[in-house]
């Protein structure tokens, strides 16, 4: 063991390339992504915002059971997906629907489970997007396993593993980062620090100088980035992906952002934070900032965003008749005798019900 840890510690402040007013930051020490990349990001940001707001509205209309929105965090969502190659993997949480969709998953599929169906909706192998994980931080060791398996087979896969600030307190966060570091697995851990875990503010979650400071304890580099600056995110995450692919091992990146809405529709954020705190963050909006920098009017991208919103509305307004047999179909590769018996019992009940009508 060596005492030299400096190269593993994050910078004192988060990397920002475009400030809240849309001005490039002088002396950022990193090149800005080119305009084409930023235009592409802006288009996606606007669609992601529309998706978030459409989904939220659909909860109110009873078409979704619950929706944890990433409104305000779209820069993290889009950058996390855009820096990946086709053969890479994304491991999302429940809040990362926008990233899942940016990766190519049909938004209606992406909302399947949140609608009230019994499975995640998409085929994880089609776009290499894991089913989203709700038990916090449990997806992180999975991400390490996928990366390690790829490395054993000599494939150039990199895995992007998402996690919230609250999730960093769980034991699985610790175990995953440690395994990744020891195995030198090509994983980029991205913490979206949105300052809250439901009602619990960051200060009650950790006393660390920053969440990125957790890296050094595992021997992996930590970095901090402005989570509302998609240019900085593309640069920092892009770099991390390149290094991971080159065999330099895992990295930990903390994106500082803010949860603009309640935890989910079921939450009442007024019980634990002031409206003014939220207000303060509207000035740092990732979309406003990027369109100012690019001098592009958002409306240029509205059509696509509306198309997606309409697709989501259509998809979710279509009622899917529950198919009882499906309850038993995928518990095992083939149902156990016990499940066959239970499925038959249910089928019989339903038949009798129909007959009695």
């Amino acid at each position: 063991m060596t005492g030299d840890a400096d190269h593993l510690l994050p910078s004192d402040t988060p990397v920002t390339l475009i400030d809240a007013h849309g001005h490039p930051v002088a002396d950022a020490g990193r090149a800005l992504p080119d305009d084409a990349a930023l235009r592409r990001a802006l288009a996606s940001l606007i669609t992601a915002r529309r998706l978030n707001d459409q989904a939220y509205a659909l909860v109110r209309q009873g078409r979704l059971a619950v929706y944890p929105s990433s409104h305000g965090q779209e820069a993290c969502q889009i950058a996390a997906a855009q820096v990946l190659d086709e053969g890479d993997w994304l491991f999302p949480t429940y809040r990362d629907t926008a990233a899942v969709v940016e990766r190519g998953v049909d938004p209606v599929e992406a909302l399947t489970l949140l609608k009230g169906d019994w499975h995640c909706g998409w085929d994880p192998y089609e776009h290499r997007v894991a089913p989203h994980a709700t038990p916090l931080a449990t997806q992180l060791p999975h991400a390490v396993g996928v990366a390690h398996a790829a490395r054993l087979r000599g494939e150039p896969t990199v895995v992007m593993a998402l996690c919230g600030d609250g999730g960093t307190s769980e034991g699985d966060f610790h175990e995953a980062l440690n395994f990744a570091a020891v195995l030198k697995a090509p994983v980029v851990f991205l913490i979206q620090n949105n300052e809250y875990a439901i009602s619990v503010p960051l200060a009650r979650q950790t006393a660390a100088p920053s969440l990125a400071h957790k890296g050094v304890g595992y021997g992996l580099p930590g970095e901090r980035v402005d989570g509302n600056d998609v240019a900085a995110l593309l640069s920092v995450l892009g770099n991390a992906v390149i290094r991971a692919r080159a065999g330099e091992g895992p990295q930990l990146i903390e994106a500082h952002t803010y949860r603009m809405q309640a935890h989910t529709n079921a939450d009442d954020a007024t019980r634990y934070r002031a409206a003014a705190d939220v207000e303060a963050w509207t000035g740092r909006d990732p979309i406003v900032r990027l369109s100012a920098y690019l001098s592009i009017d958002e409306t240029a991208f509205r059509a696509e965003a509306e198309r997606v919103a309409e697709h989501v509305r259509d998809g979710l307004n279509r009622d899917i008749e529950p198919d009882p047999a499906q309850l038993f179909a995928s518990v095992y590769s083939s149902p156990t005798p016990q499940l066959r018996e239970q499925a038959a019992q249910l089928a019989d009940e339903l038949d009798r019900e129909v007959a009695a009508r």
């Binding site: 009230g116 307190s169 769980e170 875990a197 009650r204 009882p324 518990v331 499940l339 009940e349």
Partner: protein
């Protein structure tokens, strides 16, 4: 002095916590979002404001840590009441619960008691998404050293939580989510103990329904319907899974000679298996038919659209009653 108030189960639990915090300075409440938010089900509503941050506080998001810290606090003179946000989110704490909470008294020859309560909003019926509706009682009930209880009424919720907090033993306190909003008149004074005591909720002569927690109202409703159809069903509410009240349950079953166990959890190797096994062992020759179980299927808890298919409902209970070999054979 005994007071009465009309309260929902969530309010009754909140009142129990408030009264315990008032009466006993060693009681502390902590967990995820139990502070200013008052818990996702508002069971801890107002406690931080009323008793201060030292008595009711939010912790980092780590269930094993929450339970482990509670163990230490209980070792050192406090009576911690911790909340696991949802049933499936108690699993990270499983090692602490099984290897320490359940064993500390025994491995210290009774010298270290752990007077602590682990509150778990549990089971389904509220249209929750995956991981939010598990009926996890079997995991705890199978683990020697824990008391495991589940109230089915606001009055029991109040009294049993007070009793659990006062208990020198660790208690896994299962709160049926779907009953949080059920209301009734609640007696707020001292009551005879309920932990370890089942209660007959409805008298009946033809068969006995045995239920606990969220399944008690289902059993009662089934008995109501059966009554209209001319069959008299007795309903026993266990209230306490560990300790188990063999006396009340067996007396009930012997009085009717037939029984159906109703529980939301998957049936395989479950509390309902235990009830069937132990009642059969004890009452074999009083039984006119094998005891039937109406339980959740042996599948992961299904999401909102499907839960009505999975949960034991009145029809399924009555089907099971019909199956109790009423005809001469």
């Amino acid at each position: 002095m005994t007071r009465h108030e009309k309260l929902s189960m969530a309010q009754a639990l909140n009142r129990a916590l408030r009264d315990a915090l008032s009466d006993d300075p060693t009681v502390v409440v902590f967990g995820e979002d139990v502070g200013p938010l008052g818990g996702v089900f508002r069971v801890t509503d107002g406690l931080t404001a009323e008793f201060g941050e030292d008595r009711c506080f939010d912790t980092p998001l780590a269930e094993s840590g929450i339970v482990g810290v509670a163990v230490g606090m209980a070792m050192n003179g406090m009576r911690p009441v911790v909340e696991m946000q949802f049933d499936a989110f108690a699993y990270p704490a499983f090692e602490q619960i099984v290897s320490h909470v359940a064993k500390m008294r025994n491995r210290t020859r009774g010298r270290v008691a752990l007077p602590m309560v682990i509150r778990i909003p549990y089971a389904g019926g509220i249209g929750g998404v995956e991981h939010h509706c598990d009926s996890s009682e079997a995991y705890y009930a199978h683990t020697p050293g824990l008391h495991v209880v589940a109230p089915s009424t606001p009055a029991d919720a109040y009294a049993m939580l007070r009793e659990a907090i006062a208990s020198p033993d660790p208690v896994v306190f299962l709160e049926p989510k779907k009953l949080y909003w059920s209301k009734e008149e609640v007696e707020l004074g001292p009551r005879p103990p309920a932990i370890g005591r089942a209660v007959v909720r409805r008298e009946g002569t033809d068969a006995t329904l045995i239920a606990y927690g969220p399944s008690v109202p289902v059993a009662l409703e089934a008995a109501e319907v059966a009554d209209r159809e001319g069959r008299s069903l007795q309903v026993v509410d266990l209230r306490s899974i560990v300790p188990f009240d063999d006396e009340t349950v067996c007396a009930a079953v012997r009085s009717t000679g037939r029984a159906v166990v109703v529980a939301e959890a998957s049936g395989f190797a479950s509390v309902s298996s235990e009830i069937v096994a132990r009642v059969t062992e004890r009452c074999f020759h009083s039984l006119a038919a094998p005891i039937r179980r109406v339980t959740g299927f042996d599948i992961p808890y299904p999401p909102p659209k499907y839960e009505h298919l999975h949960l034991p409902g009145v029809d399924r209970v009555l089907d099971a009653v019909d199956d109790l070999q009423w005809e001469d054979s």
